[in-house]
Amino acid sequence: MHTQTLAELSLGLANGDFSSQELTQTYLTRIEQLDGQYNSFITVTAEQALAQATAADARRAAGDATALTGIPIAHKDIFCTQGVRTSCGSRMLDNFIAPYDATVIEKFNAAGAVSLGKTNMDEFAMGSSNESSFYGAVKNPWNPDCVPGGSSGGSAAVIAARLAPGATGTDTGGSIRQPAALCGITGIKPTYGRVSRYGMIAYASSLDQGGPMAQTAEDCALLLNCMAGFDPKDSTSIDRTVPDYSASLNDSLDGLKIGLPKEYFSDAVDSRIASAVQAAIKELEALGATVKEISLPNTELCIPSYYVLAPAEASSNLSRFDGVRYGYRCDNPADLEDLYKRSRGEGFGAEVKRRIMIGAYALSAGYYDAYYLKAQKIRRLIKQDFVAALNDVDLILGPTTPHPAFKIGEKNADPVSMYLEDIFTLSVNLAGLPGLSMPVGFADGLPVGLQLIGNYWDEARLLNVAHRYQQATDWHQQAPKGI
């Protein structure tokens, strides 16, 4: 069963080929047997999963099933889940049992989906390798010596190792797309405001966006149908009709105009990745698309801009973790200042502390204009580049990452070289646009991802293009050895 896509499993449940209890038990068994190798889960909720599966089977028997009823999925441990530890990959929240469900979790519960547990992630979603987790690094199922990408590395590894057919992720600067690329799966970051952020622990509020991760675009469409929509509890979510993302998957690509930003095809990109992307472009042309070169002149500025804005927001968002009301508190604080300093000093890891310090510095009196305000201006320029380009083409295409998965520990000594891995994904968050990554080949056994960037609210088109590509190719069906 585990080799099937989420869409196939949905059909199998509908046809009565197997029950949700059988399906759920299959995945729970796989997790128990295999996840020791990958460390992709922080918390497995077996008992709750089986109870949900039983309820899902009853719901199906009553004729009230949705496409996701009885489908086991995994949630990034950034989404609050009532009664279940929600750690955000941090020692700070190692003892935090969320007393409420995130809106995204409520929606999956309402659809009757089964939650297998909470996936590993970079601490507070800060990282591109999943090495900053308090719960240890996640191993890439394609090569356990390599990182799975981050920050949704646990969710990506879960899909690649077929420990669940679908998972949730969040993406602040590439945290869905980059691990999807490095693990050979499909993931989409929707338009900012498409998916509610309520109950999703904030890293950088103006950039964070939840989205689905799965083997195929078709699976992502099924998951996004459930996740998307206006939420009165999130003032930045947008009240706009959610289309049926599954309905347009097979639309023709005839006449589709694809822009190829010259900045995304520079020598900085690994040649094996460049050739895999070029082959995918040929495939899309064969499917009816036309391509042209475009320019996103401010691409390089996205890294300095992002690494001011995201840490600035983070420095404030993470102030609530102070050891006073919940979460980690140091032993025997001498006084209030000691309580703050040691609780935060001991509760946060190095990367989180680094970003809090960068952010607090950028917002300080005397530096605000030079850093925060300047970065906001650059953000506007980057957005204008995209808006201008998307007046001319339907979507933008390029590699998701400049390199395939790197070795665990390889970039730890040099955070900036790690930050540079996000150059193609960061700008999409700064502009608030939807972006999708899908597998398009391999570089010496490690998956290569291609990114599609669409216009605002054009998730359906991205999924449609990816689906048509996946109908014509089989990269998405490849699984690591032994899976």
Binding site: F79, C80, T86, C88, L93, F96, A98, P99, Y100, A102, R197, Y198, G199, M200, I201, A202, A204, S205, S206, P232, K233, D234, S235, T236, A312, E313, S315, S316, L318, S319, R320, F321, D322, V324, R325, Y326, L336, Y340, A360, L363, S364, A365, Y368, Y372
Partner: protein, 484 residues
Amino acid sequence: MQWETVIGLEIHCQLATESKIFSGASTAFGAEPNTQACAVDLALPGTLPVFNEKALEMAVKFGLAIDAEIGKKSVFDRKNYFYPDLPKGYQTSQLAHPIVGPGHVDIQLDDGTTKRIGVTRAHLEEDAGKSLHEDFHGMSGIDLNRAGTPLIEIVSEPDIRSAKEAVAYAKKIHAIVTALGISDGDMSQGSFRCDVNVSIRPKGQDEFGTRTETKNLNSFKFMEDAIKLEVERQIDVLEDGGTIVQETRLYNGDTKVARSMRSKEEANDYRYFPCPDLLPVMIDDDYIDAIRATLPELPDARLARFKEQYGLSDYDAGILAAYGSMASYFETAVDACGDAKLAANWLLGEVSKYLNTAGIEIDASPVSAEALGGLLVRIKDNTISGNIAKKVFDAMWNGEGSADEVIEAKGLKQVTDSGAIEAIVDQVIAGATPQVEQYKAAEPDKRGKMLGFFMGQVMKASGGKANPGQVNQILKKKLDALCD
């Protein structure tokens, strides 16, 4: 040296919304600690704020009432600092784009003139919780019921020149927010808190001196005392050759002592930036006009009307028109008795005396405006005298019924039967031979003064019930007849 005092005020006024500014939790005062703090107020991970539009409406009302510019686009910012009763580690406030821009209020000075005080701005923000330092055995307790209660912070220009003016300004703002119904203004519960910025400079000097800020003054009396104390301190420091340190001070109203809380060097860098969880608040002219149409009569307009319509003095009108509750009590009583002067005298006299003694406000008076009107009617129609009316009022205050019921029950109805009065007068004259002789011996123009003795005797003999006008008339007639 002659010193001039310069004062600016920051007033934190709690808005009377039912729920908090960014969550659905109740704002009611006095509940068990932490029972009115929801997930958002506790700043649980993942929670997000949603702006309460009722708070916007109230802030706009205030802006219109002080003739201020209304911010068509206002932006919430985060003010970052750590404190245990600030759950998010930042306060959501407004910095660069407040909802209310420059406006002004007029205050009445003792010399009868009016002074205009500029209001720099008023912005929306959330209140913090409370730290409780007692009963926790060396630890502190945190009550987050108040966290997230909507406030407007009203910042004045440094236009104020004395403690008295500062109090007049604060009272005017207080009168406006209560007239608008946007705050209960209850200072004892912290609904209306004043911070005063005080500096002094040699008279005639243009630039300001170094200022200090004294925080959280929760009564007008404390505010006046704290300012006077601070001005004296600054004069002493400067005249001793010292310099004023920019600092935040705390005034203890009970001990009447102020102390330094923190200096400028110890002040936080708040690292303000626009809150990414909240969109800018955009409003248009239609919205503003719709709110303008709902504004009630404001204290200044009411003051002018009271003088015009009821012929009240500046002083009387100033007191009666300042507050909605007093003003409507007054107007109800006038409606009931048809005599504004009489109603004003009673409200400012007897009624105020009883209220002060009981330590209550007019809306808590056990004698309603209608009931007072009923009493005044009986003075007007000569059923009772003014003096007897005081007795009746006392009984009414003590819950013994309406004016008519008390008059009836106590038999206080005025004697207006002239035959009965004449009988008493005859009796008094007969028993006061020496005084009658003096009266007769006096020059006619001195006799008027001597009438007082006989008046007193007659009123006493009648148990106060004889109609004083009639007594006066009959006495005069009878005594003058004796002189002929």
